[in-house]
């Protein structure tokens, strides 16, 4: 298997509903990635694109083919990836595997979504499609509802009084918004206080407004290349050194593990094993904090903190820049935003920028050498992790 590097990255600002089409959003991100890599359209051999709900948000299926043509990537094979909120990550993972295998040398991977364009009622309906449509949706279970269930279960299993857990959760949001404020690409660029978070509207118990990520529009793109190609293009290749992916069925069938997410633990184990790295080696992690509790559960499954203790770690600053592990310096899903098809590719964008030392100084993890991404799709149905390292 060959080494594979990220040699160019691009990302639009993540935002609320906007007028740019999915093709336009992805094309903007992809041109930035292509220009940064100094490659030409004719060098790109395939496009792997995460897009979840284009059919619903703008009546567009097969967006990958239209994006390829729009970008001047004439007639190359173009695949669309749907793994709910992990779509962008699984597109990047597949791109990695095809380049690693030697079949391709240069692949464009990424994602795009217009989740905000759908508006809250349709977005809530379509996001609920990533639970079991026959055996879960009749109850009215929504996506925030899934994490409402997991939050109460987490409190009960770990014996943490709910008000205490709520305080920990609120702090994860305060930290996320703080970093989002200095990220030019973030959906929300404002501070929130503990009081703001704990006073806000209850979306579903016990999750309040800032415990939840927004529906966002946006796109992200990456050029992946073999080591041989990468060495000719850049003095700062970011190598993908570990990958992991796993799946799960309906939430109730995961009962032996909940609130732990079994598919995440398997994907995490694969990526650590492949890279030869351990949780303590990771300097910076972009993890899937679609909800406050999702951040806490993810940080534990990733091995950064003991089960039942991540919330406390956040309060102590251990999950922040300068702490034990810098989590979501981008602002994460709650502040940077969550254009679901693009989110995972956006996480890789952030890690690449962090390792290259190119983010805003307020949120730069100084000297970061090893980074990790973590993306969750559906009710723990699709989990994907990537480990990235400086190649210089």
């Amino acid at each position: 298997m060959r080494k594979v590097a990220v040699v160019g990255v691009g990302e639009t600002k993540f935002s609320g509903a906007q007028t740019k089409t999915g093709v336009e959003l992805f094309s903007e991100a992809a041109m930035d990635a292509l220009n940064e890599s100094q490659l030409k359209q004719t060098d790109v051999q395939a496009l792997f694109l995460g897009n979840v709900l284009g059919d619903f948000s703008e009546g567009q299926g097969s967006i990958q083919a239209f994006a390829a043509e729009n970008l001047g990537l004439h007639n190359i094979p173009a695949n669309r990836y749907e793994g709910a909120c992990a779509s962008g990550s699984i597109a990047v993972r597949d791109a990695f595997m095809w380049v690693a295998s030697g079949f391709y040398d240069i692949v464009l991977a990424g994602g795009v979504e217009r989740a905000a364009t759908m508006g809250t009622p349709l977005a809530t309906r379509t996001f609920a499609m990533f639970g079991d449509s026959r055996y879960e949706y009749p109850s009215g279970l929504t996506f925030p509802g899934v994490f409402g269930l997991l939050t109460h279960l987490y409190a009960a299993k770990h014996g943490i009084p709910l008000p205490k857990l709520k305080e920990q959760m609120a702090y994860t949001s305060v930290q996320s918004y703080h970093h989002g404020k200095s990220n030019a690409k973030a959906h929300f660029r404002k501070e929130v206080s503990m009081e703001d978070v704990l006073k806000a509207f209850m979306v579903c118990t016990p999750l309040q407004l800032h415990d939840c990520c927004p529906f966002s529009d946006g796109g992200a793109a990456l050029i992946l290349a073999s080591e041989e190609v990468a060495k000719k293009l850049t003095s700062k290749p970011v190598y993908i050194t570990g990958i992991g992916q796993a799946s799960n069925g309906p939430l109730s069938n995961q009962n032996d593990y909940l609130p732990r997410i079994r598919a995440r633990e398997l994907a995490v184990e694969q990526s650590y094993k492949m890279s030869g790295r351990k949780p303590e080696d990771i300097d910076v992690c972009e993890l899937h904090d679609c909800f406050s509790t999702a951040a806490i559960i993810a940080a534990e499954c990733l091995g950064f903190f003991e089960y039942g203790t991540a919330g406390e770690a956040w309060l102590k600053g251990e999950a922040d820049i300068g702490g034990k592990i810098a989590i979501n310096p981008s602002g994460g899903l709650k502040a940077k935003g969550h254009p679901i098809g693009a989110t995972g590719a956006g996480q890789v964008y952030e890690i690449a920028k962090q390792l290259r030392g190119e983010v805003e100084p307020e949120r730069q993890v100084e000297g970061a050498k090893i980074g990790m991404t973590d993306t969750l799709g559906g009710v723990g149905a699709t989990l994907c992790n990537l480990i990235l390292e400086r190649g210089w």
């Binding site: 809530t124 309906r125 929504t142 509802g145 009960a156 118990t205 069938n253």
Partner: protein, 137 residues
């Protein structure tokens, strides 16, 4: 290979407050909702059984923001119940004001009755019943 207990059969029974599942004749595992193979041992040698509909609440959430088309239903409470026979099942909580559901409800015994039916929307390929759990007095 023929599917042993389809959604349609499961759903028709659920509408009549009957909870069907599968029992694996290889390992004894109880499977609900139904699947092609036993979740523990992958055997297809399973028989259809009727479950008691009794269990204990493991977790809950009261939902205030509805998906498109279900605005009239909020607020409502979704629960996950550990059934007497072992599996967990997602359903609703009936007979309790959603505004008054707190952590105290976790661990409480419930029984399924007066099941609900989501009539379906343009995406759902028809209706779907939801088990409706009630606290045992």
């Amino acid at each position: 290979m023929e599917y042993k207990l389809t959604f349609q059969e499961y759903n028709e029974a659920l509408k009549n407050d009957k909870l069907l599942g599968l029992k694996c004749l290889e390992c004894g595992n109880i499977i609900v909702p139904p699947k092609m193979v036993c979740g523990k041992c992958n055997s297809t040698d399973m028989e259809i059984i009727e479950l008691s509909g009794k269990g204990k609440i493991q977790t809950f959430t009261t939902i205030n923001v509805a998906p498109e088309g279900r605005e009239a239903e909020v607020p409502y409470t979704v629960v996950m119940v550990e059934l007497e026979e072992g599996p967990w099942l997602t359903g609703n909580l009936g007979g309790v004001d959603p505004a008054n559901v707190t952590m105290d409800i976790i661990g409480k015994p419930v029984i399924m009755k007066d099941n609900l039916v989501f009539a379906g929307d343009k995406y759902s390929a028809g209706e779907g019943a939801s088990s409706n759990f009630h606290l045992v007095a």
